[in-house]
Point group: C2
């Protein structure tokens, strides 16, 4: 079952409403839909949802690297998927989202060949995962309105974006926690705080007994020491996201005891590094969550299959298909806050 | 495809000649052949080749833990193999060889169900691996005789057992290297040296330009610091074997920068920890070799499938089926020093 061709198609998705995080507001997203074609007629699907902010990626540049990628893997047999993973890993530094989408398309083709879902190929640990949903940065009124909507829809976990204005962040979190009964919050500063601000924020939340399950990426991605200081100063589990892209970043975070949580995103690491990070983190007793960029259902499916298959994640933040118009579902089903792969 | 039953059968294998390593001489071995039976009629095969010296295991005790094991996994679906791995991991401390054999039997059943070999399930990185063959401790004459035999048979790599008598070890290695043209040696002291002896031995070999590719387990398994001292003192790559049983041992060796090589054996780690150790070691740029206890072909097959599938090993020491009488071949083929899984 040899690789014959690979097709890229740019698909534009509009957000239902502008998505505001520290230093970034999105209203639409161009993703690359990937179709891997084998000489048996069996195909595999993947998606690259690039990130300029996190990965430095550019959609046009990614789209135009198709010829290089097909040269790397043309003629390779999908049943030797690790060999193909190794080839694709070569574009991991410049084009991590493409690495993810192409690697997943290989697994998807293998899955179609065996008539056996990817999440079972990866271990079939769970038959579904639970996702949070994200409330982006906004006014107190907007925040409460969104929180009410999520509460009504039965979400147990909410991800709150913070990091631009610590006073407003404290006010918004405290108010949402007082008014609603969410089981826990993932709080994500997207590198917006200083070390001192992060500790101040954490102390304020602790005084108000806000149940924060992960305090994500309080400081700049390069600040390994800062993460470690906050980890030991905060009563809440501290996680890395922008800091950890590759498996090598994960090992460094672990060697230096910097974090309680690692946020894996396929769009940062690809399938191959994600699998490595899972093994390393579990061995080091560092907890895991999985997040997304702006994947449509095709891309979210990639993470749902990984998350269910490995059962590795304490929290899943796989909600981008709920934020984008007309992206539907693909090989998984959303029921309330549960995602079922098939 | 649910697990219905598991059968254990003790099979006795005689060595062609007594196998002598530091503090141990073997003439025969009782292995446990494992057959996993599912409700579809599909079965999976595995083997536990226990070790009292390394794991503290006892064959009768292992044989008599069948009832506990079937209780742990009865009714579980083989397509959820990670769930079963996690259950079986609970016996990993007391019965690592059984953990390995039962976990592999699960993969073998899945492979039979999908009609897709285990090594391809694990990635299909290589279609064969190269093994060394081991020369146990003996007189100079015996050593040269065995070396001549291996040289004639075309083995490129030889594993030499040392560690009981440093003077004789130096003499044997030097003589074999002078008389034959092996590409490299894996030298295994099986914990027989002190730190100072290990360094003395290494210096002597270096003066004679003996090409040692791995200097394995010079000191006691508990001596992490000793390994590190030897690693930095020796010109040769230093490896851990008895020191590293679980993935947690691997992480500690890596955090403390103790070794250049890790020797994975399924009989120490099972399939699940072996996969973790592979990911951790590759990420840390620590090299890998894979070894065996006294597996028959059924057990060696387990390691051949892992080694070919992951392509992770710089050296394979998978020769026990060549040392035992009447153990044949199983799902792989030996051609010279090459092992082909199918």
């Amino acid at each position: 079952m040899k690789i014959k061709d690979i097709l890229f198609e740019i698909k534009k998705y509009d957000f239902y409403k502008p998505f505001h995080i520290t230093n970034s507001i999105s209203t639409s997203k161009d993703n690359i839909e990937i179709t891997l074609i084998t000489d048996t007629g069996i195909t595999g699907k993947g998606e690259a949802s690039s990130s300029f902010r996190v990965n430095g990626e550019n959609v046009s540049a990614l789209y135009n690297s198709r010829d290089q990628i097909i040269q790397l893997i043309k003629g390779m047999d999908v049943t030797n998927y690790r060999k193909i993973f190794n080839q694709i890993d070569k574009i991991g530094r410049t084009s991590p989202s493409l690495k993810a989408g192409v690697q997943f398309a290989v697994l998807d083709a293998l899955s179609n060949y065996l008539n056996f879902p990817v999440y079972k190929l990866l271990g079939g640990e769970k038959d579904h995962v639970v996702t949070d949903k994200t409330i982006s940065i906004g006014t107190l009124e907007e925040t409460l309105e969104e929180a009410e909507d999520l509460s009504k829809k039965g979400f147990r976990y909410v991800k709150m974006k913070v990091g631009e204005d610590i006073k407003s962040d404290i006010e918004r979190l405290t108010a949402v926690n007082e008014k609603f009964n969410f089981e826990g919050f993932i709080v994500d500063a997207n590198m917006g705080y200083s070390v001192k601000e992060a500790i101040t924020f954490s102390d304020a939340m602790y005084r108000e007994s806000v149940p924060i399950n992960v305090f994500e990426q309080p400081v700049h991605y390069s600040d390994f020491d800062g993460l470690k200081v906050i980890r030991y100063a905060s009563r809440y589990p501290v996680g890395a996201d922008e800091t950890i892209k590759t498996k090598y970043d994960a090992l460094r975070l672990i060697k230096d005891d910097c974090v309680d949580f690692i946020n894996i995103k396929l769009m940062k690491s690809g399938v191959s590094d994600a699998l490595s990070i899972i093994e390393i983190s579990r061995t080091a007793n560092v907890s895991l969550m999985i997040g997304c960029m702006s994947e449509s259902a095709i891309g979210v499916n990639q993470s749902v299959q990984l998350a269910a298959g490995t059962g590795a994640f304490a929290y899943c933040d796989l909600d981008s298909h709920l934020l984008l118009k007309e992206c539907g579902e693909y090989k998984f089903k959303t029921v309330g806050d549960k995602l079922y792969p098939h």
